[in-house]
Amino acid sequence: MDQKSLYDTIDPEIMTRVNARQEEISKGASVNSKLAAALALGSIPVALAALTKDVFAQTPSDVLDVLQFALLLEYLESEFYTRGTAASGLIDAADMTIFQTITTHEAAHVAALKSLIMGKSATPNPKPTFDFTAHGAVAFDFQSGQYDTFKALAQAFEDTGVRAYKGQAPRLINDKAVLTAALTIHAVEARHASEVRRLRGLKGWITGNSRDDLPAFTQGIYDGEDNVMQGPVDVSMLSLTASNGGTAAATQAFDEPLTKAQVTAIVMPFIASA
């Protein structure tokens, strides 16, 4: 039997208690000492296994919540690019193919997510009204002459999208079809992010927690990207890291997830007040 059908039979209240216990365990001394013992034995596989959750928390309602959350992000991107490519004189003619490509993808992602949601017998949430000035923080209204701002916002949205999908993947672990679909979108967002960053004269990958030239209010998009602890391994301390780009490369080599709450805090300014 697969995990999902098992969870269907469990009382949600029991699941809540299991989750609470899981959190205690994950913070508790018993697991930490097990991890310490495993590390003392020099067995990293055992140490990684000790970190592994012994209780899965994913439920079918998690999957729907992830899909609706992803839909919100795709609505944001889709409207941004659709309006951008339609705006006269905003995008440099030489770059139009790039942004038309992204526009097509985001519209298709919206459609795919809606279809996945309806496949779960649910109704896709409606598109909210967006405010691409982030409540006045950015001087931007799709006008000619604002191309640099358009590209900066595009980078902010794409780098956020990559981290958002990554953060939700564990909640999809028991729904392989949705997990795989989400990952194939996640990778396309990463391709977009790399292209937009390169178009702006940056590297396609994120170094440390640098937001580069983006305004300070976007820092939440990059916080935590300087992490070097991958499982129990500090990748900045691997013997070959120093001769292969050092800590900077070690942070570039791994993109980091964001929680739903972190992503929501980033996205909220772009949703118009009711």
């Binding site: 194939t184 391709r191 499982g231 490369a249």
Partner: protein, 246 residues
């Protein structure tokens, strides 16, 4: 809007297989593209091959009874291949016609792949670790176009491999780790395609990236690996991604 398909051909023999021919017709029918990996031409015989023949070495078995470690081992084989490839590319900068900007991109990617490899080596430990031998039939390390085409093929394959293998991971921690790596591979793929065809849609040629089954990935990767790749207790089911080509 019709989905643009890519068909990857890694050996000349593959062109003669019925399934490939069907895929070919499907792909061409929707205005897609066919990618000929350098191995496809190398296998024709006239091209000079460097190093031992792919698959001619000892058998390297990845046993899926080991659960998540098997997925990590699979990733480790691919990361070893990528790291070795870019290390050779960087070592050959002096004799190649890659621009300094391109060398910067490839040098960064080399660093990332070496770190991915070393991370997986540490994570797998001596119990599950192994070393593969890579070989590059048909690849000309002093040719910009050959290096970039091979790099693009490796990066696209890496993305499809992680996307397809994720469904076999049972730990949320490993799933997140795979996610942390795959998006960087996708950033690489985008950058390489952008170097090959700037200002086009080549950086992201599909609405959804591919998700390939481990056996499909192994079939393509085998073209560059001397060890004979084998699976034991391989999963009998594969959940397709939106492109339905895994």
């Amino acid at each position: 809007m019709a989905q643009k398909k890519t068909l990857v051909i890694s050996s000349a023999d593959q062109l003669l297989e019925a399934r490939t021919r069907r895929d070919f017709l499907k792909v061409i029918g929707v205005g897609g593209v066919m990618v000929m990996l350098p191995t496809a031409l190398a296998a024709c015989g006239s091209d000079s091959t460097t190093g031992p023949k792919p698959g001619s070495g000892n058998t390297l078995t990845i046993d899926f009874a080991n659960g998540d470690f098997a997925v990590l081992q699979f990733a480790y084989a691919l990361e070893q291949l990528e790291a070795d490839f870019y290390t050779r590319v960087v070592a050959g900068f002096g004799g190649s016609n890659l621009s300094s900007g391109e060398q910067g991109v490839l040098g960064d990617i080399k660093n990332h792949e070496v770190i991915h490899r070393e991370f997986l080596k540490a994570a797998l430990g001596t119990t599950y670790g192994f070393t593969i031998t890579a070989t590059y039939p048909g690849v000309n390390f002093s040719s910009r176009s050959s290096v970039l085409a091979t790099a693009a093929a490796f990066e696209d394959l890496g993305v499809a491999a992680y996307n397809g293998a994720a469904q076999y991971i049972s730990s949320t921690d490993y799933l997140t780790l795979a996610g942390k790596i795959v998006s960087v591979e996708a950033r690489h793929a985008s950058a390489i395609h952008d170097l090959i065809a700037p200002k086009t849609g080549a950086f992201a040629p599909q609405t959804f990236d591919d998700a390939f089954s481990p056996s499909k990935v192994a079939g393509i990767a085998q073209g560059y690996i001397v060890d004979k790749l084998a699976f034991a207790n391989a999963p009998s089911t594969f959940v397709q991604g939106p492109n339905n080509n895994g």
